[in-house]
């Protein structure tokens, strides 16, 4: 595919050709051809269109759905549809719950993961390696399959319907611990910790003054992904919260379950629910990308 795009243009002399080849291989200056951009553009359109289409339908009435070729641009019905969404589901309650749940989980995961990751990366204690392997092993265990006892537990405690039941199981994650450990192991020089200890700093104040500042970039990335994961979670909130006290995701799913489904309203709701993350994407898209490329991983 890329062959055509990157092949050096025919050049007059062998010498120049060789230089061009070399330059292209080193990746300096050489730009790929239009085919590359064309393919990327096609992929981008395929990625964006379903979203754009929901904006179009969500801002019109159901009639737009019947047309073979949907209109290209949004109509004027969006706010009316949004009004319908507000009438159908407790949108603001759901939004508030989602913000609260994802926010608390994010703060907690970042703090506890940084503490544990620091401990694994920089402190010496008996059983460290074995315990670290245990942490990694737990990442491969599908804990979602424990929902039945977990649900029974929450019911016994009387927490069903409370957002605490969603927050508590994810207050700290194996992935977070591992992620922070991997980052901190290289980033903090051991001498720095030792000298802080020499100066008589307690363990926790060493953590606070030495590790925490160094950990900040990774904490931001971990926070971003933790927030995303908590925000998109569906199965467990659906189960334990029920329709009375929904998150944004479970509330949104209620739109689809109504007896008479009005798709323009459903899609207006989908668009509305996507907006907060779209804002996050615009503000922190670069961090998301570098986080993924550095190996932050699906929750």
């Amino acid at each position: 595919m890329t062959a055509i795009g990157t092949r050096p243009r025919p050049t007059p002399t062998r010498d120049a050709r060789g230089r061009a080849l070399r330059r292209s291989l080193l990746g300096n200056g050489r730009r790929p051809g239009f085919l590359t951009y064309g393919l990327l553009m096609a992929f981008f359109l395929a990625s964006a269109y379903p979203l754009w289409w929901s904006v179009i339908i969500g801002s019109r009435s159901n009639e737009a759905l019947g047309q073979t070729w949907p209109p290209l641009f949004p109509g004027g019905n969006f706010w009316a549809n949004v009004g319908e969404v507000f009438d159908t589901i407790p949108f603001w309650l759901a939004l508030g719950n989602s913000v609260l749940i994802s926010g608390i989980i994010t703060v907690s995961v970042v703090i506890f993961s940084t503490l544990a990751g620091y401990s694994f990366a920089k402190l010496r204690f008996r059983g460290r390696n074995g315990l670290m392997v245990a942490v990694i092993a737990t990442m491969a265990i599908p804990t979602q399959l424990g929902i039945i006892p977990l649900f029974m537990m929450m019911r016994t405690l009387g927490w069903t319907g409370e957002i605490g039941a969603v927050i508590i199981p994810t207050l700290v994650t194996a992935f977070g611990v591992f992620f922070m450990r991997q980052y901190l192991v290289d980033v903090i020089p051991d001498e720095l910790i030792e000298s802080a200890r020499m100066d008589g700093a307690s363990m926790i104040s060493t953590f606070w003054h030495v590790a925490l500042p160094a950990a900040r970039p990774a904490m931001a990335i971990l926070g971003l992904f933790t927030f995303m994961t908590a925000w998109t979670d569906f199965l467990w909130p659906l189960l334990v919260l029920g329709p009375g006290n929904p998150t944004l995701q479970t509330a949104l799913s209620q739109l689809q379950s109504a007896r008479y489904v009005d798709y323009s309203i459903v899609l207006a709701g989908a668009v509305l629910a996507t907006l907060p993350l779209l804002v996050l994407f615009v503000l922190a898209g670069r961090q998301l990308i570098s986080g993924i490329m550095q190996g932050a991983v699906k929750g």
Binding site: G5, F43, T274
Partner: protein
């Protein structure tokens, strides 16, 4: 130095140290300090282990316990039935049906996704203009939550008014029964997964491609290897560990797929004839629609075993591949098993934070950062 001082104090006042005559007496502050040093590491990692024991390990173990009983959603624990639940579930047509659906959707979403993601990553692994824009453009679907994705695609794939059928019809092609037929429904659900995750995985693969030292490409080119040859002989073998990693994550997630099939047709639990009922959806139905916790726990436990089995197979395969891959691309692969090598500091995360204008063009600089994605989790 400290111990020296204590020695002298002990010598001066032998009586005072009688409880522990061999050890130098520590001041209260010093004792506190030692305690701090000894206990803190455990204290810091304790939250994870305590929480995991409570909400991870215990529920999984208890699931097995529940599976040995007649257990009703509301009435609670009933008679001990031994392995009868297992017997019945294993003879249950719908259990096997759900496994088949899960695997089918998993394959339909993993294989095309991996191929497209690799291609996109290869396209991005060039000296592009507006690099950040392109990277962001492929990540756009990732910010649409699975619930919203399911709502959007359930409409696109609607049998009567769906956009896709409308367009097919305008070309004179028969409408496809996206929800009512087995394979089309699997394709529709796999499309949701593919749409959301392809760009994300392309970025992971891109990171792997960028950690391949550029001079390998250079010398290959001097030896006369064309673009395709270089891609298949250098790029692919080099990113294989990362591909395995992507597959493993896709497996753990894919075998537990729930949201998409649940919302594809929310009036049923995976279709009128369970044609796209996945195993977790079946578990859900058994537990909360049919109130049979005993059987639901059995299904959960069986699925757990299957996922662990898949994990082991993945692990063994990746071991083999990593070993054979070593000869081809020196320095990578081999003993560096992502999952196990927690103690290998060789790894990961150069300077995190907003990625500086590093990668892409002047790539040789990326060699120290090298092994990034492979060492992920």
């Amino acid at each position: 130095m400290e111990s020296g001082t204590h020695m002298t104090t002990t010598l001066n006042r032998p009586a005072a140290s009688s409880p522990a005559p061999m050890k130098p007496a520590l001041t209260f502050r010093q004792r506190l300090n030692v305690l701090d040093m000894k206990a803190s590491p455990y204290l810091y990692i304790a939250p994870f282990f305590v929480l995991f024991a409570l909400v991870g390990l215990f529920p999984l173990g208890y699931t097995f316990f529940v599976s040995l009983f007649d257990w009703h959603l509301l009435k609670g624990q009933g008679d001990f039935v031994g392995l009868r639940n297992f017997q019945e579930v294993l003879q249950d047509r719908f259990f096997w049906n759900s496994l088949f659906n899960t695997l089918s959707i998993f394959l339909l979403s993993t294989i095309p996704q991996l191929i497209v993601a690799t291609a996109i990553a290869a396209l991005l692994d060039q000296n592009l203009r507006a690099r950040t824009f392109w990277r962001m453009s492929i990540l756009l679907p990732y910010i649409v939550t699975p619930v919203a994705v399911a709502l959007i695609f359930a409409n696109l794939f609607g049998e009567q008014y769906g956009l896709i059928n409308n367009i097919l019809e305008s070309f004179g092609i028969d409408r496809i029964l996206w929800t009512n037929e087995t394979l089309p429904s699997h394709i529709a659900i796999a499309t949701m997964v593919n749409w959301r995750w392809t760009g994300y995985n392309a970025l992971i693969l891109l990171a792997a491609m960028q950690s391949v030292p550029r001079d390998i490409y250079e010398s290959a080119a001097i030896d006369g290897a064309g673009t395709f040859r270089r891609f298949f002989s250098i790029t692919l073998p080099s990113i294989r560990p990362t591909m395995i990693f992507v597959v493993i994550t896709a497996t753990i997630g894919g075998l537990q797929i729930f949201t998409e099939p649940r919302l594809f047709d929310p009036r049923t639990s995976g279709g009128t004839a369970a044609q796209f009922q996945t195993t977790v959806l079946y578990l859900w139905e058994m537990a909360f629609d049919r109130s049979n916790f005993g059987k639901a726990a059995t299904i959960a436990w069986l699925l757990f075993l299957i996922i662990v089995l898949f994990g082991l197979v993945n692990y063994l395969i990746s071991q083999r591949i990593a070993t054979t891959g070593e000869g081809r691309a020196p320095g990578r692969g081999a003993g560096r098993r992502r999952r196990k090598r927690s103690t290998a500091p060789a790894v990961v995360l150069p300077a995190a934070g907003p990625q500086p204008p590093a990668p892409g063009s002047a790539e040789p600089a990326a060699t120290p950062a090298g092994t990034t994605p492979r060492s992920t989790r």
